[in-house]
C-alpha cells in the first residue's frame, strides 16, 4: 500500500498510509476505535474511493479487475441475507463469489457451523453471525483476505478456535490481513503488525521489531504488544 489518503472534506481519515503485506503471513492492523482501520480496508477493497494512493502488487499498481482477483474484503458489522439460511449463504459464497467448494466441509467444521446450517442468517447471535461471515471469507478464492474485526463478538473459546482456523488457512498459503482492536487477540495470532493511529501508520513489523522501535523512542515499558502500541502511538 503506497500513500493511501482518504479525506472527508477537511477531515483526513487516512493520511499517506504506506505498508507492505508479505505472502502467506497474518498481518494485524492494530489501532484504537476511530484510527481508520475500516476506512483503510474499504479503500483497499475498492468499496470506498480513496483520495490518493495506490495498491501495488510486486511494485505494479493493481487494476480494479486484478484487485478483485487478488483480495477479498470481509467487513465488520454487516448482516447480509437475513432471510436466508447459513447453508444457502455458504453456497452463495461458493457460487456467486466464485469460492472454493472443496473447502466447504472443512470450513464448516473448523468454525463449528454444522448446528447452524439451517438457521436463518437474521436469527444468529453476533458471534454466530461473525463465524458464518468468516466462513464466507475463508471460502473465497482470492489469495489475500482482509477481515475487519474477525474476533468481535466471539467469546474466549470461540476466539481461540477461530484463531486456529485462520492459522491453518495461512499455513496453506492464504495471506490474511486482520483488523483487530483487541491487542491480546492480535498478539496471539499475527505474524506482523501495522500500528495505525489517527489515520497514520505509527509502526510496522514483528513484535520484536516494534519493540526495538519503541525502545528507540524511549517512551516507556515495552514488554508486550499493548505496551509497544502505547509507546509508539
Amino acid at each position: 500500500m503506497e500513500g493511501l489518503t482518504k479525506r472527508y472534506g477537511h477531515l483526513a481519515a487516512l493520511g499517506g498510509v504506506t505498508f507492505s503485506i508479505r505472502p502467506g503471513e497474518i498481518l494485524g492492523l492494530i489501532g484504537p476505535n476511530g484510527a481508520g482501520k475500516t476506512t483503510l480496508f474499504e479503500c483497499m477493497a475498492g468499496v470506498l474511493p480513496p483520495t490518493a494512493g495506490e495498491l501495488l502488487l510486486d511494485g505494479r499498481p493493481l487494476s480494479p479487475v486484478t484487485r478483485l482477483k487478488t483480495l477479498f474484503y470481509l467487513p465488520d458489522a454487516v448482516a447480509p441475507w437475513s432471510a436466508q439460511t447459513v447453508r444457502w449463504a455458504l453456497e452463495f459464497a461458493v457460487g456467486f463469489l466464485r469460492g472454493r467448494g472443496d473447502r466447504l466441509d472443512a470450513v464448516i467444521e473448523g468454525l463449528d457451523l454444522t448446528p447452524l446450517l439451517n438457521a436463518r442468517m437474521g436469527t444468529l447471535s453476533k458471534g454466530q453471525r461473525k463465524r458464518a461471515l468468516l466462513a464466507i471469507g475463508l471460502l473465497t478464492a482470492q489469495p489475500l483476505l482482509l477481515s475487519d474485526e474477525p474476533f468481535e463478538g466471539l467469546d474466549l473459546r470461540q476466539s481461540r478456535e477461530v484463531a486456529a482456523t485462520l492459522r491453518r488457512h495461512a499455513e496453506r498459503g492464504r495471506t490474511l490481513f486482520l483488523s483487530i482492536h483487541q491487542i491480546a487477540d492480535a498478539a496471539r495470532i499475527c505474524d506482523r503488525f501495522v500500528l495505525l493511529s489517527g489515520g497514520k501508520v505509527c509502526g510496522e513489523g514483528t513484535l520484536d521489531e516494534l519493540r526495538d522501535d519503541a525502545r528507540g523512542s524511549g517512551t516507556g515499558a515495552t514488554a508486550n504488544l499493548e505496551e509497544v502500541f502505547l509507546a509508539l502511538t
Binding site: V47, L48, F96, D102
Partner: protein, 439 residues
Amino acid sequence: MRSRRAAWTWLLEKEMRELVASRAWWVLLVVMGPLVGFAFIGSVRTYAEASGLGGTSAGVGEAFSPLVGIWAPTFSACELAAVFLLPFVGIRLIAGDRQSGALKLEIQQPLPPVVRIGVKALVLLAGWIIASVPAAVAIALWRSYGGSLYGPEIATVAAGHVMNAGLTIALAAAAASLTEHPSTAAIVTLSVTVGTWILSFVAAVHGGVWERLAQYTPTAMVAEFQHGLVRLDVVIAAATLIALGLGVAAVWIRLGVPVVRRVAESIALAAMAFVVVSAGTAATKSRDFSESRANSFPLPDEQTLAAVRGPISIEVHLAPEDPRRVDFDRHVLAKLRRVRPDVHVRYVSATSIGLFEQTSAGYGEIWYDVGGKKTVGRSVTAEAALETLYSLAGVTPRPADDEAVFRGHPLVTRAPGATLVFYVLWPAMIVSAGVWARG
C-alpha cells in the same frame, strides 16, 4: 471445486429469494386483490346499468366498449398500486443490500453493475406480473359472464401497465442507489411522482411546452395505452426513461468510484436520454388497437384525409382549461394527427381558463387552412371539423360502411362470484402462501 453456474444466475436466485422474503411484496400481493376487485366490480355494475338502458346504435356504441367501461378502470387499480406500493418493494430489494452490508460483499464479484441492476429489475418486474394476476382473474370472470374480449386492446392495456411498472422500478432503483437510506429513497420516489402530477396540472393551466412535456409523464403515457393506443414516441420515451433510471442506479451502486465521477456519468446519461426523448417526439407512428377505433376517425375519413393535398393548419382560439378545447384536442386533433402528422396546430388565448375571454371577439373560433383556403368554425365535434376540412379541400369522403361501425357489447351482469374471489379467496390464498413461503 468452483460453481459452473453463471454468476448472474446466482444473483437472480438470490434476488428472487429476497423478493419472496420481502414483507412489502406480500403486502402488495394481498392488497392487489381487493383493489382490482373493487374497481372491477364497480365498473361491471356501471357497465350493466348502462347496458340495461338499451340502445346499441352507432352513437352510443362507444359507451359499451369493455375497453373503456371495464378494462381501463380495472387496470387503473394496477396504476394506483404501481405508484404507491411497488416503489417500496423496489426500494426494499435495492436499498436492502446497502443497508445490510450485503452490497459490500456482492460488489466484490466482478459482475457489471448494469447486470446487477438488470437482474434486480427483472425480478421486480416478475414480482409485479405476479401481483397483477388479479387483473387476469378479472378478465377470466368477465369472460365467464359472457362478456366480450378483444385480445389486442387488452394486451395493449396490460402492456401499458407493465411499462408503467418498468418506469416505477427504474425510478425506485435510481432513488435507492442515489440515497443512503430507504426512507430517503421513498421520499425521492414519491416526490418525483408528485412532481409529474404538478407538471400535468401546470400543463392543463398553461398549455404550450408544459403540455408537450406532460405527454411523457407516466400517468399520461399509461392513459394512451388504456385507450388502446400505442404511440411510437411514447414507447421511445418510456424505454429511454427506464434505461436512464436503471443506468443511474448502475452508476451509483459502484461504491468505490469517486462521487464526482458518478455525478458526471449521471449527467451524461441524463443528457443522452434527453436527446433520445427529444428526437423521439418526432416519431409520429402510432397504432390504434381498440376494437371501437376510439382513437381514430372512421376508415373512409382517414383515407380521404390522407389524400388531401397541401398542408393543413388549424388555429384554435380556446384557453387550455376550456372544456371545449379538451374535447377538440381529444376527439379531433389527436385523431387528425394520427392520419396527418404534418398538421400544424396553433393555440391562441389570453388566459388559462378562458372564462373571462368569452366576450372577446374571436374567442371560441377555430380557423382551418387547407392549402391556403381558409374558413372559420366554432363547433368542436369531429363531424363538424371533418366537414369543414373536406369543404376546404374540395373532396367528398366515401360513405361510411354501416357494417364497420362499432356497435358495442352491452352486458347486464352483477359480477357473480367476484366479491368472494377478490375479497376473500385471493387474500386468504396469498396470506397462506406468504406464511408457507416465509416459514
